[in-house]
Every structure is written in structure tokens, then in C-alpha cells.
Amino acid sequence: MTEAKRCLNCKKPQCVTGCPVQINIPAFIQQVAEGNFAEAARIIGEDSALPAVCGRVCPQETQCEGKCVLGKKGEPIAIGKLERFIGDWSRENNWCATKKSAENGYRVAVIGSGPSGLTCAKELRMKGYNVTVFEALHEFGGVLVYGIPSFRLPKETVVKHEVENVKKLGVRFESDIIIGRTVSVDELLDKWGFHAVYLGTGAGFPNFMNIEGENLCGVVSANEFLTRNNLLFAYKPEHETPNFVGRKVAVVGGGNVAMDAARTAVRLGAEVHIVYRRSEEELPARAEEVHHAKEEGVQFNLLCNPVKILGNEQGWVNGIQCVRMELGEPDASGRRRPVAIPGSEFTLEVDMVIMSIGTSPNPLIAATTDGLDINRHGCVNADEDGRTSRRGIFAGGDIVTGAATVILAMGAGKKAAKAIDEFLMKK
């Protein structure tokens, strides 16, 4: 409450413009300051389905907090922490933020139960649609359950509760259904009686570098390592999924997922080395994550690029050969392009390599849906509001943008819900 009282309650709140789902931030902070937590939860609930999640994983420093006027001279309001508090408060007090609305007769299928699917489902349900969420895995939450580790986002409490909240609104959830295999998008529209489909399947297909030695035993994608530990709890002895953790592990990549993989490996007892080809300044991970990783003893090998992975006679990894890099001219992304320094090759002796160099959308839906336009990165082409090249099919989140953040996916889910509403109401 003391922190909340620092808020100036600006006339033209910049924080709201920084928020992809445009939560009325000053209004909820005002309620926190006055101790009306339920009212604060209601205000957030109008715009966000997942406050306890966003409060934890949003890059606030570049969004709401980055825009806060107080940040110009001193420290911005800790908006993320306040949101997290409200999210946790409503869970602990069993406070349900929204009421059920009557059904309007239209049925919408939401593919994927990650942040964008959950948001879209919630928004549509609140507008009166009959919504079913289809999930390929055995748990709901998408990247929130398979990707982000529990130490950053507690699954059993936080994620489960947020999914339950969407369920309570009357959204139906179906697991173990893989769209494109169990049933196609066209069948959902033609035979399963849905009037519109929202594709929120994310970007779950791991990229590899295509360098020598990448298929040695002991080389895994960050997705595999995190899925084993997060979704299947392989680190717990009572769970049966086997887990392999090296003694000395190289994590290739510098994003949030790389930090998650590195910090997970540290927790399993490994000595962990990040290998990233640019410098610290360009690390795509949130500053907070890098800070935590360093605190936990993760070593950063910056301006290093893997050239090949070395293995022993049994086909297991025993090292990773890297070359040192220097930063050259800025490239298309505006970041300075790393250039290899000739003759600077060196070998890092490791017994495990975790590849965390990004993910792409799974090609399955695009391959099984006629007339759905995709771009050269395999992302579905959709406009600002999620309309694809096919009438009645909408898309948003990582499947459109490529791997990005939870909150951007939620923003896309929210916009698409509005567009789906307009589309169906005009019919």
C-alpha cells in the first residue's frame, strides 16, 4: 500500500499505453492504496485473464514501468509487484473476478491453452460465446506449464488457478487433442459445429544451429530440457520421466528461455556456462533474469559462437568448440552484427549442451489447413486484429509473431477476441 501511494495518478497515464492489454493501471493502484484489493482485482480482471502470471513474467521495465513518469527522476512504481500481489491475493482469498454471462449461441474453438488462447477464451466467454479450448498436451497452460520453470512461475498454485478461473466462467477445456491430426481446423468448422477458430498454438518448434555434432547424446533443446522438468517433473524421483543433467553444461543462447534452462540446470547441480554470440548489452533476456542467473553462479561466455560440438567414442558430448566474436556494423535488427575473429577457436569442456536459440511455430496447422497464408518464417499471416487469409480463422501470439512474450500473446488474444466478436455479430 505504501508503494501504491507513490503513484501520482497521472491524467494521461503513460503506463497504460505501455501495457499490451491496457490494464487501467492507475485505477487499480488507487484501489490498492486504499486497501480495496477486491476492487483492484476487478479492475485488472476487466483487461487481463492472468494477473498473477503477468506480475511475474512480464518485462515491466520496457512496458508499464518503463513508461512511468516517476521513473524519469527516480524509481518507477513497482507495477509488476503490485499486480502480482493482487493476483495472489485474489487466489488466496478465493475471489473470482468475473461473473458468468449468458450464451449467445455461437461456438468458438480456441486452439492452444497458452497465454493467448486463455485470454482469447476468457474475453469471448465474457462476451457470451460458447468457447472450447483444445490442448495437445496433457496439461493446460502452454508455455506457462512446459516452458517457464516453477521457481519463476509456480505451476501448481498460480497457473492452475488462473486456468481454473477461466474454466469457472464456463469455458470448456479439452486436452490430448492435436489440431491437424486428431481433427483439422476445417473439420472443426465443417463438422464439429464451430463458427470461428482462434489459433493460439504458439511457437513450440525448437531451432537448432545445424552444426556438426548437434545430434550427439547429451545435446538437447531447451524445450526438451524444460519440458522434462516442468511439464513432466523429471527432476522429482517419484515421477517416471528420465532426466539427464550434465556436470558441466553449456547453454547456447541469451534469451529468457536460455536463462530458464541455465537456472534449472544450476538447481540440478550443474556448473552452467551461457554461450552467446553478442555482448551483454544485446542479451535478449530481461535484465532481471540475467541478474538472477549471475547471482546463482551461471557463467557468461559472451561474444562466443559455437562452431561444432565434440563427442567421445560412445557418441556422448565432451566439449563444445567456440569461436570468439567481435561486434561489427549494425544489422537489419539494429544490433551490431557479431563477426568471428579468425583463429580464436577454443574448446569448452562440457558433458551437456542445451540449445536455446529460439523456436518457430509448429508447421502442423499451416500444413493441414488449406488456404492459410504463412510467411517465410513459418508464421501465420494475420492482421493487427488477428484476421488470417481464411474467413472465420483468426490467429495471434507467437504463431503470428514468432517467439515473443506472454503479455504480447495475451494482447493479441484480446484483440482477436474483439475481431471474432465483430465478425460473428455481423454475420
Partner: protein, 321 residues
């Protein structure tokens, strides 16, 4: 939940499980598989769909006990349910997309080794259902490992059987039969599909290359999600990395790096073993056998933590000659 409606012992350690999964039964095509998660704490295990029944809305799976997880699956009784089954996964067999005229002109041979008989059956059945001819060769170490013969016989033109010990059919392996058919009986095959243990597929692939017959195999790589998310099932085909779960499971055999496949398949063998039961005697024996006598003898305390367990597993793997 997916209810088990039939369970039947087919052979040594091999069981048929028929389970209610109407949506999967509806969508399944030959060559596709499912991922089964028996209960809350189980692994996700890939299994080929061996048969479907749209009338009852069921799929049939054949499970052989190879480790803790398969043994656990088989501890489920009729009337009980598996927690999760997702599918059908993977690409269906390529031949089902070919024009029927082309299929009619070609001569297909299906070769199955051991538990590979289960995934071969739907392919042969598809051929039969489309009025096409094909030969089938099945092989196993011994008679008690063979099954499905009564299902295969009516749908194939010729069913050849081979056992290593000669307890049923010809004495020898599937390759001996294949070679005899082609070289001595003058059979002509335009394509072979082989399914079985990795080593068997490797040898059939070599024999097929020798006989100049295109060969397709269905890989049973390790998988976690089975939907293209993890890359655990990576395999090198024609010098390129492919995911067995979404690009396969069937690949052109001549382009596969089988040795890499076998190494990758064994990647978690020791770790899995450790996880099953602490103090497993089998593992103790393995440790005793592997650790050089001059080294430290493992004691109970070293096996208390999971991380330590995994470490010693790694040691063993790397010390293996």
C-alpha cells in the same frame, strides 16, 4: 480418461490393449502412433496404433515390457483407464497417398521383427482393404515371441515366418528369407517396409540395398511430447536433421544414420533404470561390473540424491568400453 476394454497376452511379455479413444480411431491412418501417459506420474510413451475399431470407438496398442513404464502400463486392468492418449501422431505411410493404379502394378513386401509385427499389421490390412497384393515376412528369436499370425495370414498373399532357433517357420532371420525369396524364388519387390528393433531395421536396410530394393523403415526414437516440441527424436536422414515425430516416423532407410539412432535410443537407459527403484539390484550389479576395481566402490549414500544418481549413470556410460 481412456478406458481399457480388452487386454490379452499375445506372447512372452507382450500384451494387446484395446482402449476407448473414439476421436483417435476416427482419424488414424496406417503408420501413425499415439502417446500414452498412464497416470499422473508416468512418462509419455509413443506406441504405434496397431488397429482401430470405429464401431466400438477403440484403438489397439501392443505393449512389450521393456522397462518400468511399460510394466506399469501393463499393470492396468480391463475397466481401468489411462490418463492421457494423444494422437494420431506422425505422418501416415507414404504409399496410402499414391494412386491406386500405381499401387496395383507394384509389388510390396512388409517385414516385421519381434514386436514390430504390431505396427506392420495396419499397413498390410490397408493393402488388403484396397484390393492390393503383398507379401509379409515376420521374424523373432523364438516362437513364443511371435503373435498376430492369425490376423496377418488372411490379409497377406504369402506369410513367411522365421525364427532364430527354428522353433517355428524357417530357421534364420528375416533377411535369410528375403534373400531366398528374391534370389532363389525369383520374387520381385518394388518396395520393402521394415519395422522392428533398430538393429533389425539396419540389417534389413543393408540387405535391401544389396538387392537393390527401395526400403522404408518406421523409427521408434525416444520422444517426450511427440508433437514436434522437444527434438528428442532427432535423427539424421540424408545428412539432415529430422524429427521422427513430425517428419516421420517412416523414412527412406538408405539415408538413415542407424548407428546414431541406436546411440540416441539408448541415451536414457541407465538413468531410467536408476529412477525406477533406488537400490535396484540390477543396477548395483551393473555398477560393480563397470567400475574398475581400483576405483571407489559405490556405497548406499551415493545413491540418495537424484543428481548423484544421474552423475554416476553418466560415469558408467562414459566409462563403457
Amino acid at each position: 480418461m481412456y478406458k481399457i476394454i480388452k487386454k490379452e497376452e499375445l506372447g512372452l511379455d507382450t500384451y494387446l490393449i484395446e482402449v476407448e479413444a473414439p476421436k483417435i480411431a476416427q482419424a488414424a491412418l496406417p503408420g501413425q502412433f499415439v502417446i500414452v501417459k498412464a497416470d499422473e506420474k508416468s512418462e509419455r510413451i509413443p506406441l504405434t496404433i496397431s488397429d482401430t475399431d470405429l464401431f466400438d470407438g477403440t484403438i489397439t496398442l501392443v505393449v512389450k515390457t521393456i522397462g518400468y513404464s511399460t510394466r506399469k502400463m501393463l499393470s492396468f486392468r480391463v475397466g481401468e483407464s489411462f490418463r492421457d492418449i494423444v494422437g494420431p501422431l506422425g505422418r501416415p505411410s507414404a504409399f496410402i497417398h499414391r494412386p491406386i493404379g500405381e499401387l496395383r502394378r507394384a509389388r510390396y513386401c512388409f517385414i516385421a521383427g519381434g514386436v514390430g509385427i504390431a505396427p506392420i499389421y495396419p499397413l498390410v490390412k490397408w493393402m488388403y482393404a484396397h484390393g492390393l497384393n503383398c507379401d509379409v515376412i515376420v521374424g523373432a528369436r523364438t516362437k513364443s515371441l511371435l503373435f498376430y499370425l492369425e490376423k496377418l495370414r488372411p490379409v497377406s498373399d504369402n506369410l513367411y515366418i522365421a525364427t532364430d532357433d527354428g522353433s517355428m517357420g524357417e530357421k534364420g532371420n528375416v533377411n535369410t528369407v528375403l534373400e531366398r525369396l528374391v534370389k532363389e524364388e525369383g520374387k520381385r519387390y518394388d518396395e520393402i517396409t521394415a519395422i522392428g528393433p533398430m538393429i533389425m531395421m539396419k540389417f534389413v536396410s543393408m540387405k535391401a540395398a544389396e538387392l537393390n530394393i527401395p526400403c522404408i523403415v518406421s523409427l521408434n526414437a525416444l520422444m517426450v511430447d511427440g508433437t514436434g516440441m522437444c527434438g528428442a527424436c532427432r535423427v539424421t536422414v540424408g545428412g539432415q536433421t529430422r524429427f521422427t515425430c513430425v517428419d516421420g516416423p517412416e523414412f527412406n532407410a538408405s539415408q538413415i544414420d542407424f548407428d546414431e539412432c541406436m546411440r540416441r535410443q539408448a541415451m536414457y537407459d541407465h538413468i531410467e533404470h536408476h529412477k525406477q527403484k533406488e537400490g535396484c539390484e540390477c543396477m548395483d550389479a551393473a555398477i560393480q561390473a563397470q567400475v574398475p576395481t581400483s576405483g571407489r566402490v559405490p556405497v548406499r549414500e551415493q545413491k540418495s540424491g537424484n543428481a548423484t544418481l544421474m552423475r554416476s549413470a553418466l560415469d558408467i556410460m562414459q566409462k563403457r568400453p
